[in-house]
Symmetry: D2
Subunit: 284 residues, 4 copies
């Protein structure tokens, strides 16, 4: 499957500023970048690039000059080969069996206070069968209790805030799901992505759970099809997988995102199941 | 019905201290005090008494002297005549119909952040029939989700803390129930009480909802029978109905509480229904 | 001193709605209403009026009809005779000396979590002389640490939120000051008011501290002169002194406020001292 | 300098349980382990060991058997060669200059909500000279405002909780300092350690700031001398550097810690400066 993704980000720079962007898709065995363009204006703006080995996250540090209008244009054609499996065969590992490198994904994080939700999570999900079905139960629970509402949350909103307020955006759905899964002893991580079919087009946030030796994708908002998500970044929550960190006097002015399936299945709303979906992308 | 209630409170006073106690039963048309003893040692300790007309709360201010061991012994025999009605006939008033003096009981308060729970409350309880049944649904919801656990909360624990932690004591059950009812537009207040049959004996906290022109008692812990509760104080939450406020250098040392039915029904655990109970005591 | 105050409030009513408004000035021995107009359109809208004896707050309940555009126009001419005293003579009472009816203003409330700030308040203010000077020290501390910034807070923002975020509006300045004073054992209450000279014109929020037997006005924002404030409502915090409570499907559309000194001192910015001011209005 | 460190941890295991312990000192170029003993009873208990390359943290996973009394005895002799420099020469790097691998230590984390404290931190510390002096100013600020008090905090207490409550233990001092430094753009991490001279002996928590290309140690509690700290683990906060994570039915029963300087300077209280100390240990 081929997917075209792109982003145009504009900033007004009123003083010295450093931006750290994570907007380029990760390269993984199942996500190949066929071609990619990155254009930064004004010309001559100093930049640095690096990839974090442990996560595959690709960062761009932009040293913006005061008094400029900064513009970052990115476009890439990506070939996806999602690994799909039968949810019934995706089992859950006990803490005793988890590989050491996965254990940090059981820890609470800034926006996912799993340590405060253990009793609630056990009570709500003890009857769901362990494995993929239990994470799907978490997604369904979150989907049924949280209203998707732009403006309902802020950059400091956490999973427990969202549980109480009952409303949020994709980031909040992911945080609450992640927190509940960790409270159940299931390693989970936050994933930022391009999602074809999103209305209106925007960056998307979903999450992955480590089950049976692999990381499996879930989207509690039910707005995207996991098998066509183009992975950008990952981290334990949005604090570790931000699209853009701004240090200094730069202010966002414009943002425009695109994600289109060039070859592959139609991703109209009909394709998304009303259950959190079992299609699966293997992590790096 | 005749009930004997009593409390023995001891304090070590290491410096000048003022205590404000609300441990004596309220006098209401349906709660008569037959006899009452209040003894404070050391003799000569200066005290003041007053009753707040709006609530019937009886306060005792004790001016404790540094270097003493303060002891307050209270005992009273109370005649109760609880008003009992058919829950099905206890209906809910719209905000447009509520008497003005009841409206403050719709406001959020220190420990009952109803303003943060509106969406959640509407989603969880919109299907329960309005009136006594809806408040009972709130009690059942709280009872099913919160574990009664001594030490699970602190004096600053609020209703939202309890919702997240999933554990608490009688005060926390009352706060969460009150907050959910207010979020549903039902005026509610916190009530401190003596409760015969409590194991171990202790002060108890329940709540009242204003329905159909009266205040009706509810106990989400299901540990007490509303028809044998001896009301002590009321307020919008525990901040407004504390048994004891200490200003200065006094430290609690001992506390012993008693509440026994002298004449009337047996209040063994069997008598408490597994639904939040519909027996009803009229408020002052 | 004569002051003209007024408010125009518009609401779009899409379904049955009840509004409870507290926009009319209180009548107190030192605040006389010379003339007053209240016009509600559409004509024939059902309303009720009442005054709460304990606070003097004047409420208006409006039973709005679905499908209407509701408009409330209020205007009043008020004569003020603020009681002014020498701050140095305004002393602080110990909890042992406070009149019983004032004690509830020591309790924490929804937006003023004084119970969480005791240690901080004692540490910061133990060196300030008790009495008016200590409350002025609280105002100065708040003024120096909180940036006045529209949009920095929301209706659920509390005193501790404001202390952490370092920004807020008049309501937040009042809440934080109130919380710190209560943590110091000084009874305080929230006051909503008309404030001539406010830029842009708006409802204002200040607070009062009970010192030496009277309630004294303070404004930690330093935007208003206490001696020309026209008191509207009072309560332990904004939850108890809201301008407007909306129950049902009404949405605010327009709001316009006015407050002008007709006879009396100029209230240009120069008149406000840079210390929290010692002018004083006696409470009802 | 030679230091002897040790810990004895006991657990009652009532059901299947997995413990993940991080109690063994890290091996770094400046911290050599001369000899080490680790004894786990009952004999035959299955264990695994691993070291995380990015942090040097050494983990021990213990697969405890139900019905046993688990005991972990650890002892090590460590040679320390702390790198000490003149604080005045330790400068601060701008976000534009920080090495990429350090940037995650600017992000907020579970217990260090630096994103909520930016305005407060800038206001309080803008006058302190950047570099080591600014971090020392943070330590002094925390030391002056937080009372060291056992029992004042719980495992879910965060930096903002501690700022408000004004009391905590070593972990809370470290969290608040870390959060304030990150809000100032200074990368910081949490460090668990053995600290000779601690009264009573216990595990200790301090923090490191990345300044001028190195990580420098700070202890806002002023209870330990940074130059004799034996580093155990590091992470962005205590969620990432816990001594023990328990999964399953194990309950701590006993804990005893020791840390003694065998060869080297006396670490009596007199040695600790009243400023946060400038002695420095190089990180791995």
């Amino acid at each position: 499957m081929k997917i075209l993704v792109g982003s145009d980000l504009g900033y007004q720079v009123n003083g010295p500023a450093t931006l750290i962007l994570n907007v380029q898709p990760a390269e993984t065995p199942r996500q190949r970048i066929l071609r990619e363009t990155l254009t930064i204006t004004p010309e001559g703006t100093r930049t640095e690039h690096w990839t974090v080995p442990a996560t595959g996250n690709r960062y761009l540090r932009v040293h913006a000059q005061a008094g400029t209008s900064l513009h970052i244009h990115h476009e890439a054609e990506v070939e996806l080969d999602a690994h799909v499996a039968d949810p019934g065969e995706v089992t859950q590992l006990a803490p005793a069996e988890l590989p050491p490198e996965v254990l940090p994904h059981l820890w609470p994080s800034r926006f996912c206070e799993s340590d405060r939700l253990e009793r609630l999570a056990l009570r709500e999900f003890c009857d769901a069968p362990p494995g993929h079905a239990r994470v799907t139960a978490v997604c369904n629970w979150v989907h049924d209790r949280i209203t998707y509402l732009r403006g309902a949350s802020s950059p400091t909103t956490t999973a427990t805030d969202t549980l109480l307020s009952g409303a949020g955006v994709c980031r909040d759905f992911a945080h609450l799901s992640v927190a509940l899964c960790r409270a159940l002893g299931i390693p989970t991580r936050f994933v930022s992505a391009h999602a074809p079919g999103l209305v209106p087009p925007d960056f998307h946030a979903v999450f992955e759970a480590f089950l049976g030796g692999k990381w499996w994708l879930f989207d509690a908002t039910r707005q995207a099809s996991p098998d066509v998500l183009v992975r950008i970044g990952q981290g334990r929550d949005a604090a570790e997988a931000a699209f853009a960190e701004i240090h200094g006097a730069a202010t966002p002015t414009t943002m425009s995102i695109r994600a289109e399936v060039l070859e592959g299945p139609d991703v109209g709303r009909g394709l998304r199941t009303t259950q959190a979906v079992a299609d699966v992308a293997e992590a790096p």
